[in-house]
Amino acid sequence: MKNLMKLSVLGLLVVFLFTSCAKQPTQQIDETKAAISAVEAAQGNVYAKEELKKLNDDFNAAMDEVNAQSKKLFKKYGKAKEMLAKVKADAEAVKALIPARKEEAKNNALNAQNEAKAAFDEAKALLEKAPKGKGTKADIEAMKADLAGLEAQMSEVQASIDKEDYFGAKDKAVSIKEKANAIAEQVKAAIEKVKGKK
């Protein structure tokens, strides 16, 4: 009987050691946080917005599990650890996605910049060879000034690319292209006007 009592006490002690003293997975928490911060640092809020939001939500859910377990007598952090490990792995996967997305955005911006430049150069060339007669002088002077404005905005596109604001750069470049095309059309109309009068 005495032996049974001793065994029971020992058993309880073992259970106590393996449950009540189970520690919060702080190291894993810190590592997961660091993995999410790395995604943010890699401009995840620009190139992986949705994924970053999900990472934060999943991390919060994992922390809820950690907190819930910490209040229990028999603490089991197994599930929380699994959740944290998944968030960390997901964060690393998301971070790995970003360079490709960034590169794609950069290429789109550069293509748009090239197209804008080509449209600008075309308008400029047309303007240079446009007949500066009495009927077109006003239009041509106005369009020259407009092109000067476009040139200033072209440098803004480059500034945005340099700042890695690829979406902003692309939008601006597309707008410049539209305006440059409109100017080119105006120059052609002015040339036609002169031809018509001859």
Partner: protein
């Protein structure tokens, strides 16, 4: 006896455990509201809740977190003791709050769209007026550079509005306004005379006196208003025909010397008719008159113009098209100069003024601009 009691105890314990496990297995699944609420939160975030209703979204998130924590606590209990009724109730409240938040966001989004579009329209109106005014000025390149940049930003703004990106759209509006303000500041300097009530009153007096003389002598008169780009023929003090005209490269300025490409202001008369001339038919006026010569000499004395500068001449009302650009002449379309040429004899008075309108387009634009800046 003791052994029997122990065995009985073990049997009872086993039965109780089996009952307990059985009950746990019968635990109903988590209420669907839990998943619905989590999906709703994602949708609200995607729709920009943190931008359009930050406080309400924060409160909603807090309530969702509380409900989630409660749910997690319940999940940790053995099935029999779980209270999904309360979980359902809590998530039900969260879903309701989320639906209200969605409606609130829709209202705020619509308000933001209306506010931004209205501001955009008002700025675009300013842009169009500046665009038109800048075409009348010799130093147009300075103002037009700013205007062209504003125009590009209007295009960017349209894209942001289409994406419902109101936050960046607001920023874009600020940049557009800044470009328009810079263009306005340049135009204001160049259009100072058209904003001066005393100058406008003087032009008005000049025009009224000429019209009165036309009435008294029942004679013809040509009145040109440069800002309005209008040429009106009067007979016996009554307007009989009005035409749109084109002016010089520096048309809104008062002519001072040869090559300034400005259109002169003052009282003149037709001194010769040319048919054909270089630009269709033409009526030559007597620029420079005595007043012009006096102004020119004073400018020379004060060193405003070099001693080598000449006063110029050969200012005509001619054809060639009102959409062209003259060197200071007043241009009409070819069919219109035909009409004028037929009606107007040599000797007809020609009065050229800046404007007679005290609330002209320059004034109305700049006054509005002032109000907005205040």
């Amino acid at each position: 006896m003791k052994l029997k009691a122990v065995v009985l105890g073990l049997v009872l314990l086993s039965l109780f455990s089996l009952f307990f496990i059985g009950q746990s297995c019968q635990t109903p699944p988590a209420p669907p509201e839990v998943k619905e609420a989590l999906a709703q939160e994602q949708d609200l975030w995607r729709a920009g809740a943190s931008i359009f209703a930050p406080k309400e979204y924060e409160a909603y998130r807090q309530h969702l977190d509380e409900a989630r924590k409660f749910f997690n606590q319940e999940e940790l209990k053995i099935g029999y003791f779980r209270d999904y009724g309360k979980v359902k109730e809590k998530f039900g409240h969260v879903l309701e709050e989320g639906n209200n938040l969605k409606n609130l966001m829709e209202v705020r989004k619509a308000q933001a769209a209306v506010e931004i579009r209205s501001k955009k329209n008002s700025l675009y109106e300013r842009y169009q007026i500046f665009d038109s005014l800048s075409l009348d000025l010799t130093m147009r390149n300075f103002s037009r550079q700013h205007l062209a940049q504003a125009d590009i930003m209007f295009k960017e703004l349209d894209r942001l509005l289409a994406q419902a990106n109101y936050e960046q759209a607001r920023e874009k509006l600020k940049s557009i306004e800044s470009f328009l303000n810079q263009a306005e500041s340049i135009l204001r300097k160049q259009l100072e005379r058209y904003l001066d009530p005393a100058q406008i009153a003087a032009w008005k007096r000049l025009a009224e006196m000429a019209v009165q003389r036309s009435e008294e002598t029942n004679s013809l008169l040509i009145l040109v208003s440069k800002l309005d780009r209008k040429l009106t023929i009067y007979k016996g003090g009554k307007p009989i025909k009005t035409y749109e005209v084109g002016l010089g490269f520096n048309g809104l300025a008062d002519k001072l010397h040869a090559g300034d490409e400005a259109t002169p202001e003052g009282e003149y008369k037709v001194i010769k008719k040319f048919a054909p001339s270089k630009y269709g038919k033409a009526l030559l006026i007597n620029y420079p008159n005595e007043e012009d010569i006096k102004k020119f000499n004073e400018a020379k004395k004060r060193g405003i113009i070099t001693p080598m500068t000449k006063i110029g001449g050969l200012i005509e009302i001619h054809g060639g098209g009102k959409d062209g650009l003259t060197s200071g002449c007043v241009a009409l379309d070819d069919d219109e100069i035909e009409e004028v040429f037929k009606i107007i004899p040599v000797g007809t008075p020609v009065v050229i003024v800046g404007t007679t309108d005290q609330s002209n387009k320059a004034i109305s634009v700049f006054k509005n601009g002032k109000k907005e800046q205040h």
